[in-house]
Amino acid sequence: MTTKLSDAFSPGPTPTFEHSARESLSDSQLRRNLGKATQTIRHKRTVAVEEMPDWEGLREAGRALKERVVRHLDEYLLQLEESVTQAGGQVHWARDAGEANRIIAGIARDHEAEEVVKVKSIATDETKLNEYLEREGIHAFETDLAELIIQLAGETSSHILVPAIHKNRAEIQELFRKEMGTKDLSDEPSELTEAARLYLREKFLKAKVGISGANFAVAETGTVCVVESEGNGRMCTTLPPVLVTLMGIEKVIPAWRDFEVFMQLLPRSSTAERMNPYTSFWTGMSENDGPREFHLVLMDNGRTDVLADEIGRQALNCIRCSACLNVCPVYERTGGHAYNSVYPGPIGAILTPQLVGQGDPGPDSLPYASSLCGACYQVCPVKINIPEVLVHLRGKVVRHKQDMGGPPAKLDPENLAMQAVARVFSDPELYERAQRFARIGQWPFVRGGSIGRLPGRLAGWTAVRDLEPVPKQTFREWWRQHRGTG
């Protein structure tokens, strides 16, 4: 792990997916909450997508646009800087999470802000902005309902779009009663929402600085766009006198007309809506309206490294819809926390390891957190071939271990086994000998015509599955006996 990213991702080794998944898999409340939520949303998405006559055409257009952005990123970013500056905004460049946090804290300090209000933003989760600001004596209030829930609970997000998807109504009721001091609160969604509204209203009016992420920023016009459901984002971007937007550099799109494509793809893929309730656009500053100061922070934080990888770079096409999480059979069962990453699910499994690089057991385990079933690729609105990138990254993980890990990596039992099997497969004679050996060598494990227990890493298989013994005759032996040709 490179030091420049130490602000974005916790220092020291991260637990592996396999390890963390074990805990969440046995949490029956979590399994029920997530199973129900993801099944509902993915069925709704299917309906919302099926009513579109040209969905595949739109996906292709989305892919092509994003690919063009990534190919000409340098030009579009400079164009965006110019457009935003011309419209009265100020543009800052942040090489990494640490720089982004320092810039944002600096702006807040300049305005003597002790409190800031935030629109839901994964970019600020990536930089751990809230923790940084807290250390600087500035308290950040999350204003998205789900973000507020997990902030009050002291937890991290478990879903890109629905950060508190792992919690049900009763758990939220309990949390609000405790944290907001509202003893007689019921678990009715409308009552819970009203409690949050009352709690937040005062914060919106008091805050001197609002902080947002960005779904898109238009190079041609300098317009920044935030897509949301609750209207809290609109409050944060219009009420406080100062607005700061943090965005990853890959969020730029070429032109205003490109919204035609993305505004059809995004809501249907994420919330299964034809149109989301609130879409805010702002271009620099306006006379006598909205914030008096606008800052756009353009953050790299590992993205240009991703750009250098021809297969992996498609991860930068992501528009954060979360459709891949909702269809993923792994995510549905383990939840987002098992990924130990700001970006969970299939997209997290390809994005996080690329942002942090190889060598940390946590991110290194993420490309393996998939059965490669391909459901994610099928729903991705910008056609990111997630299974392809997963396989590619697995290769990078293994090559990094083999080339940098020294003798311990070479003596790793998995590596030794894979080397031996590759050798066997490269020679038909050796291969046939190995087949015969398997037939003979299996006898200690065969009980009553099946194998119920295997040693070592294979024990995971036989924990819940039997294995049929190797039969007496291989196919090639049969062929040789009956056909004799080849």
Partner: protein, 258 residues
């Protein structure tokens, strides 16, 4: 044998059987059934002995440099055939979808060209029958209650669509029952089932629940790897439900019992 849907008699196609190392070693009866079905349709089947493994396990687990010699071997062994047929959607998808990535990694332009030529000639059994030969009735008889699990790689990488179901619907005596949430992965995923054994088991438990809900005697699929996973779970639970490869159903005829 009933009327064969296919009227062509002998077809001027010589195909190579790509048995896959998995079927060769663990499920030889699937290979024998594949040969039987193809020969019944008048196709001449070759079995190149020099074949071993397509390299999928190595490639998908990240041991990609180790897989490259296996890719080269495969291309050499099957070069020159009009069609290569395998009773495995997963191994075929490795050849068709991932060999280009392997050739790219090898930095070998000639290998990339060969892979590009060979790929479109490699077929999973059901797609070869239905899409290439346009046969949907192979004259099979299988008097059992069966549910069908469409495996992920056949479904989403090869896009075989309804081909296996079309074949099954024309089997005499079969009682075909629909599986709910059929498109959801069973949790096998190659080394995933070992590396993430717990998550894999959680996925398997839901697949087994759906299989048991159908009250079928057997669960069929076009990949023995997925069936080994589903069948392994069913066996451990003593559920009394078996698994069978699609090829073996298609090879069954009146007067024999699989």
């Amino acid at each position: 044998m009933g009327t064969l849907g296919y009227e062509g008699g002998t077809v001027a196609v010589r195909v190579a059987l790509f048995i896959t190392c998995f079927n060769d070693t663990l499920f030889p009866e699937t290979g024998r059934a594949t040969v039987e079905v193809l020969e019944r349709l008048g196709i001449e089947v070759d079995f190149p002995y020099a074949q071993t493994c397509c390299g999928q396990m190595h490639f998908n687990t990240g041991y990609q440099r180790e897989a490259i010699p296996l890719v080269r071997r495969f291309v050499e062994v099957f070069d020159g055939y009009e069609a290569v047929v395998a009773p495995s959607g997963s191994c075929v998808s490795m050849v068709r979808e991932l060999y280009p990535m392997a050739a790219e990694l090898a930095g070998d332009q000639r290998l990339a060209e060969k892979v590009g030529e060979l790929g479109p000639k490699v077929f999973e059994l059901s797609e070869f029958l239905v899409k290439r030969l346009e046969v949907t009735d192979v004259g099979a008889y299988y008097p059992h209650r069966v549910t069908y699990h469409p495996t992920c790689h056949s479904l989403r990488m090869l896009e075989v669509g309804d081909a296996p179901l079309e074949l099954l619907r024309n089997v005499r005596g079969i009682d075909l029952v629909e599986l709910s949430e059929p498109e959801e992965c069973c949790g096998f995923g190659g080394t995933f089932a070992v590396k993430n054994a717990d998550t894999s088991a959680a996925m398997l438990s839901d697949k087994i629940r759906h299989v048991l809900d159908t009250e079928a005697e057997v669960c069929a699929a076009g990949d023995n790897s997925c069936l080994m996973h589903i069948g392994g779970g069913l066996s451990r639970l003593r559920a009394g439900v078996g698994t069978v490869h699609l090829a073996q159903i298609l090879a069954s005829e009146i007067g024999e019992e699989q």
